[in-house]
């Protein structure tokens, strides 16, 4: 037998239109998982900058005039940051809901409706995200 032909990428993500519900659930779960890990480390880094700000006098901190408070308030004033916050919420909510779905799968409950539970977690994520928009966008300057 001579060498056989390797179809390479044609077997992988190039086929995304043909992916099934379970496959998408897996991809989204991985993606949101990495996003949350990325956020976690960014979050820790940002929080740790408060240590240098803590050197300020109590009055300054209470008046929220220290570098940490002003920087964060400045960031919160940005429309882009508010958008990212909504995105973070969506990512976290989906990861939680699909995590529950996977817990059910691990326990062997309702495996035949695993695709429906994936769609349900997508819809719920969408609904919660949309419902959160007014809260996240109050008092933001563009």
């Amino acid at each position: 037998m001579s060498q056989s032909y390797n179809r390479g990428l044609i077997e992988d993500f190039g086929r995304w239109k043909e992916f099934s519900a379970g496959m998408w659930a897996w991809i989204f779960h991985k993606f949101t998982g990495w996003m949350l890990i990325g956020y976690l480390f960014t979050h820790i880094a940002v929080l740790s900058t408060s240590i240098s700000a803590a050197g300020e006098s109590t009055d300054v901190i209470e008046a929220q005039n220290d570098i940490y408070s002003t920087t964060l308030q400045g960031l919160e004033g940005l429309f882009l940051i508010r958008l990212l916050e909504i995105g973070l919420l969506a990512v976290a909510v989906f990861h939680i809901l699909n995590g529950l779905r996977l817990l059910m799968v691990d326990l062997g409950i309702g495996l035949e409706s695993q695709d429906k539970s994936f769609y349900a977690s997508l819809v719920l994520t969408g609904a919660i995200t949309v419902a959160s928009v007014p809260t996240f966008l109050t008092g933001v300057g563009i």
Binding site: Y5, R7, I10, D12, M23, E112
Partner: protein
């Protein structure tokens, strides 16, 4: 599996507008032109409804077929026609070099698993009228293509044998004492679905964990192990031995519950469910409360 070596040309092949006709330009060069006209004529002659199929062609031993391509065939439609019927017609009437495996034609032998319109299906079990045309017929993904629709199944069979797919007894009694080993009805029901496997390899081909991890046992092999591990007639020790094979690094824990295998299995075996159950068995075996 070395799926990393991407061949960009191959990805374009299905979209290539030049391939959309009732013939393939490459075939023309290869066969000196006569072949293609014949195709077109035959297609024109056909009265009534025809089915348009696009079949993956590749043969490393034939010049002009070393570059994979899709050939178009227009096959007369008959009620009840399966995907296998259509490729058989194409082979018998248009191009005798078209190669694929088939045998029983009734979804028992497991020879004719193809990648049809982006999904692993048994050619003989798939009604062509259920599919969107043109029907794209390709060899199973994640397996090396030997020729046309024929893939190398060696690795799949190796994985199947890894789980020792045969009944084992702790110690076989002397010949005179041998007697029928009866199974309870409940136990038979439990392993019924798992015993339906026909070794077609569709599940393994659909699993992208198996594609990335060559040592992963894969759904079919794990299902086969399930059949024996759950069989009450095998002793406790054998069951433990089976679980030891399954709970290895490349065993049940590699499954990430994408349900791809369950979705493509032509015999409707709940593969993911079986894998999950074995995971729980493996945990139970190792859990100690003291």
């Amino acid at each position: 599996m070395s799926t990393q070596q991407a061949e960009p040309e191959s990805q374009e092949a299905p979209e290539d507008p030049a391939m959309k006709g009732a013939e393939s330009p490459a075939a023309e060069e290869q066969k000196g032109g006569g072949m293609v006209d014949e195709h077109a004529e035959k297609a024109a002659e056909l009265e009534g409804e025809t089915v348009h199929i696009k079949v993956f062609r590749y043969d490393p031993e034939v010049e002009g077929k070393q570059e994979p391509r899709f050939d178009d065939f227009h096959v007369p439609f008959e009620k009840g026609m399966t995907v296998l019927d259509s490729v058989m017609y194409a082979r018998d009437e248009y191009d005798s070099s078209l190669t694929f495996r088939h045998s029983c034609r009734q979804a028992v032998c497991g020879s004719d698993a193809f990648f049809v319109n982006g999904k692993q299906r048994l050619g003989c079990k798939t009604q062509i009228s259920d599919l969107e045309q043109p029907v794209r017929i390709e060899p199973l993904p994640h397996q090396e293509v030997v020729k046309d629709l024929v893939v190398d199944m060696d690795h799949f069979y190796d994985q199947m044998h890894t789980v020792e797919p045969y009944f084992q007894d702790e110690d076989t009694p002397p010949v005179d004492d041998l007697e029928e080993q009866r199974q309870s009805q409940e136990n038979r029901e439990k392993i019924k679905m798992s015993s339906r496997c026909i070794w077609c390899g569709a599940c393994m081909s659909s699993c992208n964990i198996a594609a990335g991890d060559n040592e992963y046992l894969g759904p079919a092999a794990i299902n086969k192990a399930y059949k024996f591990a759950m069989d009450d007639r095998e002793g406790e020790e054998i069951k433990e031995h089976r679980l030891r094979i399954l709970e290895q690094e490349h065993g049940v824990w590699r499954c990430q519950t994408q349900f791809s295998c369950t979705e493509v299995c032509p015999k409707d075996i709940p593969l993911t469910e079986h894998i999950q159950e074995l995971k729980r068995e493996a945990v139970k075996k190792n859990l100690k409360f003291w």
